[in-house]
C-alpha cells in the first residue's frame, strides 16, 4: 500500500490535469449533443485558445498594464471571445454542412481542419515551431498540509476551472439559450417547431464549447509555463476520451470523465514502474477497456435500437 501522502499528492496533481481535460471534454459533449458529430478539430481550438491568450498577455504588457490580475483577466476574455468566434466559424464552414453526412466525412473534415489550424499557427505565429514560454502570472509559493505540497497557483487554476464549469452549468440550466441547447440536443426537429432558432442555438453551443477550450488552453499554459502548437493533438484525443468515458452528450459525464482521465494518468505515472513513460498507455488502455464494457459511458443514456 503506497503511503497516504503520496496518494493524496498524486490525487491533487490528477485533479489539476483533470480540470483542464474536463473543460475540453465539455465542448466535445455539447457539440455531440446538438449536432451528433464529433468535432475533432476541438483539440486544435484548445491550442488556439492558449496562443490567443499568450498574444493578449503580450498585448497587455505592451500597452503598459502593470497588474498581473488585470492582464490575466483581459487575456481570458480576449481569448474566449476570439477562440469562441473561430469555433463558430469552424462549425459554419466545416461541421454543420457535413452534419448529415456519414460520421466518416465529419471525421476526416474536422481532422483536416485541425491540421489547417495547427499549420496556420506554425506558419503565422512568430517562430511558431518552438515551444513558447508562458508567463508565470499566478502567485508562487505554497504550503504543506498533511505531507501534501499545495501550491498557490494550483489552487488558482482549480478555482478558475471550477468557476468556468459552474458558469457553463448555470448558462445551460438557467438561461433561455441553455434551454434551447437542451431542447435541440433532445430533438432538433421538435425544438424548431417550438420556435427555437436552430442555427443560433448551434452557434451559441460552439461559442460556449470553444470558449471553454480557450480557458483550458490558458490554464494549461499557466500550469506547464509553456505552450506548443502540437499540444492540441493529445489535448483533443484526451478530451474526446474523457467525453466518451463520461457518456457523449452528458455535460456532467464529461467533467467526471476528465477528472477520471487526469487521475488515471497521474496514478499510473506514480505507482507503475517506468510509469511516467507509459502513463498514456495505461490511460488509453483503460479507456479502451471501459468502452468495451460500457460502450455508452458512465452517465450515458441507454439507447435501444429500433428498426
Amino acid at each position: 500500500m503506497p503511503p497516504l501522502e503520496l496518494l493524496l499528492q498524486q490525487a491533487l496533481n490528477g485533479l489539476m490535469l483533470g480540470v483542464m481535460y474536463a473543460l475540453i471534454a465539455v465542448g466535445f459533449t455539447l457539440f455531440f449533443g446538438v449536432l451528433d458529430v464529433i468535432h475533432f478539430s476541438h483539440g486544435d481550438i484548445y491550442m488556439l485558445g492558449a496562443f490567443a491568450g499568450l498574444t493578449a498577455l503580450a498585448a497587455a504588457t505592451a500597452a503598459g498594464v502593470g497588474s498581473g490580475v488585470v492582464a490575466l483577466a483581459f487575456a481570458f476574455l480576449a481569448s474566449i471571445l476570439v477562440t469562441g468566434l473561430i469555433g463558430v466559424a469552424a462549425e459554419r464552414l466545416c461541421v454543420k454542412p457535413l452534419a448529415r453526412a456519414s460520421p466518416l466525412m465529419t471525421l476526416l473534415a474536422t481532422l483536416s481542419l485541425g491540421l489547417v489550424i495547427r499549420e496556420a499557427v506554425l506558419i503565422f505565429y512568430p517562430r511558431g515551431a518552438d515551444p513558447k514560454p508562458f508567463p508565470r502570472l499566478l502567485p508562487q509559493g505554497g504550503f504543506e498540509i498533511g505531507g501534501v505540497a499545495v501550491r498557490y497557483e494550483n489552487l488558482v487554476i482549480l478555482a478558475i476551472g471550477l468557476a468556468a464549469m459552474i458558469a457553463v452549468d448555470l448558462v445551460i440550466t438557467r438561461t433561455r439559450m441553455g434551454a434551447a441547447i437542451r431542447a435541440v440536443a433532445q430533438d432538433a426537429e421538435a425544438a424548431q417547431m417550438m420556435g427555437v432558432d436552430l442555427d443560433r442555438t448551434v452557434d451559441a453551443t460552439f461559442f460556449i464549447g470553444s470558449g471553454l477550450a480557450a480557458v483550458a488552453g490558458i490554464l494549461s499554459g499557466l500550469y506547464y509555463s509553456e505552450i506548443h502548437f502540437i499540444m492540441g493533438i493529445t489535448g483533443g484525443v484526451i478530451g474526446f476520451s474523457a467525453a466518451a468515458i463520461g457518456g457523449l452528450g452528458n455535460v456532467y459525464g464529461a467533467i467526471l470523465g476528465g477528472l477520471v482521465f487526469g487521475l488515471l494518468q497521474t496514478m499510473a505515472a506514480a505507482f507503475i514502474p517506468r510509469g511516467s513513460e507509459f502513463r498514456d498507455v495505461v490511460a488509453f488502455g483503460v479507456v479502451m477497456l471501459f468502452l468495451i464494457v460500457r460502450p455508452r459511458g458512465i452517465l450515458g443514456a441507454r439507447t435501444v435500437e429500433r428498426v
Binding site: P103, A109, L113, L115, L291, I292
Partner: protein, 373 residues
C-alpha cells in the same frame, strides 16, 4: 481500340510531364493541358460517352495498356531517383488503401489505426531481420501475419463499439503503439531500428541500380516493380472480395446491421474477416516500406499517417476499388510536387481535403451500383 490507346498514351504523357516539368512555363503548360484534358470530357457529354464505351468494349486492351504505362514509368523517370521513390510510395499506399478500404469502405469499420498496423508490419521486418537475422523475404512475408495477429487485440472493440466510439478506440490504439515503440528498448526507442537489410532476388540486391533494355534505372526502380506487382495483386484480390458474397454481406451490415442479421449474415464472422484481411494488406505495405527505406522509427507511423490513409480512400471514393488507386496516386505525389510551397504545403493539403469533402463528398471516382451479370 485506337481511342483507348490514344487516351492512355495522353494520360501517360500528362503524368510524366506533370511530374518532371520544372521550369514555370513548362509547369503552366502542363497544368493547362491537364485541366483541358479533364474539362473536355466533363463538359462535352458525347466525348464522355465515346470514352466510356471504348473503355467498356476493349477492357483487355485498356488493362494491358495501363500495365505497359505503369511499367514504362520508371524509364520515363530514370533521371530522378526521388520521383521513382515517390511513385513507389504511392503504390504502397495503393496496397494499404485497398486493405483499409475493405475495413472502412466496405464494412464500415472506422479504423483509424492504419498507421499502427503498417508500423507493426514495418517493425516486425526490422526486428526479424536485424535482431534475429532472418532473410528479408521471409520477414516481409511473416510481417503481415503478425499485423493480423496483433489485430486480434481489437476484435472485441470492433464487435462491441461502433461509429465515433470505434474511431476513438482505434485512435487510442495508435497512440498506445507510438508510446510503446518510443519507450521499449528492444525496438530502439525514439531512434527506431536502423540498417534493415534490403531484398535480394536471384542474387540481385534491390539497392543496386538495374540496367534494363540497355537503360540505366535508379535503384528504386527495383522496389517500384516489386510494389507494382504487390499493389496489382492486392487490388485484384480486394476487387474479387468486394464483388463476392463477402463484399455484399459487408455492404449490407455497414448500411444496416439488423437487416443484415435478418438475412442470415453472421456479423461477427464478416466483420472479423474484413478486419483481418484489411490488416494483412496494411501490414504488408508497412513491411515493404521498411525494406525499401532501410529503417523504421516511431514518427514514421504516427497518427498523421492514419489521416493520410483515410484521406486516400475518402477522396478516392469510399468503397470504390479504382477510387483507392486514384486517391493514392494523387494524394501521395501531389504534396511532393508542391514542395516549392515549402511550409504552406500541409496547410493547403488540409484545405483541399476540407473543400473536397464539402463540394465532392462522393469522392473522385465514386463507387458504382453493384452489377451482376
Amino acid at each position: 481500340m485506337i481511342v483507348v490507346l490514344v487516351t492512355e498514351a495522353l494520360v501517360f504523357v500528362l503524368v510524366v510531364a506533370g511530374i518532371l516539368a520544372e521550369r514555370p512555363r513548362a509547369l503552366m503548360l502542363t497544368a493547362v493541358a491537364g485541366a483541358a484534358a479533364l474539362a473536355v470530357p466533363a463538359a462535352v457529354p458525347r466525348v464522355r460517352a465515346t470514352l466510356a464505351r471504348a473503355f467498356d468494349e476493349h477492357r483487355v486492351v485498356a488493362l494491358v495498356g495501363g500495365a505497359v504505362g505503369a511499367l514504362a514509368l520508371p524509364f520515363a523517370l530514370r533521371g530522378s531517383p526521388y520521383w521513382t521513390f515517390v511513385a513507389t510510395l504511392a503504390l504502397l499506399y495503393v496496397t494499404i488503401g485497398q486493405g483499409l478500404n475493405l475495413q472502412i469502405g466496405t464494412a464500415g469499420l472506422i479504423n483509424l489505426a492504419g498507421a499502427a498496423f503498417a508500423g507493426i508490419g514495418g517493425y516486425t521486418v526490422g526486428l526479424l531481420t536485424v535482431s534475429a537475422a532472418w532473410p528479408p523475404w521471409l520477414a516481409v512475408m511473416v510481417a503481415p501475419l503478425v499485423a493480423v495477429a496483433v489485430g486480434t487485440v481489437l476484435f472485441v472493440p470492433i464487435l462491441k463499439t461502433r461509429g465515433h466510439y470505434l474511431a476513438l478506440v482505434t485512435i487510442a490504439f495508435v497512440f498506445i503503439f507510438n508510446v510503446l515503440m518510443n519507450n521499449f528498448e528492444f525496438t530502439g526507442g525514439p531512434q527506431g531500428i536502423k540498417n534493415i537489410p534490403t531484398l535480394t532476388l536471384f542474387g540481385h540486391r534491390f539497392t543496386t541500380a538495374p540496367r534494363l533494355l540497355g537503360v540505366a534505372l535508379p535503384a528504386h526502380a527495383n522496389f517500384y516493380c516489386a510494389c507494382l506487382l504487390v499493389a496489382t495483386v492486392t487490388t485484384i484480390i480486394t476487387r474479387r472480395l468486394h464483388d463476392s458474397w463477402l463484399g455484399l454481406a459487408l455492404n449490407t451490415l455497414r448500411d444496416d446491421e439488423i437487416a443484415a442479421r435478418c438475412c442470415g449474415i453472421s456479423i461477427t464472422r464478416a466483420k472479423i474477416t474484413a478486419f483481418c484481411v484489411g490488416n494483412f494488406f496494411i501490414g504488408l505495405g508497412g513491411a515493404l516500406y521498411a525494406v525499401m527505406v532501410g529503417f523504421v522509427s516511431p514518427p514514421d507511423f504516427d497518427f498523421g499517417y492514419s489521416l493520410v490513409m483515410l484521406s486516400v480512400i475518402i477522396i478516392g471514393g469510399v468503397d470504390s476499388i479504382p477510387g483507392v488507386v486514384l486517391g493514392a496516386c494523387l494524394l501521395v505525389p501531389l504534396p511532393e510536387r508542391f514542395r516549392f510551397l515549402h511550409e504552406y504545403r500541409l496547410l493547403l493539403y488540409g484545405l483541399v481535403i476540407v473543400l473536397m469533402l464539402l463540394y465532392r463528398p462522393a469522392g473522385l471516382w465514386p463507387a458504382g451500383v453493384r452489377r451482376y451479370r
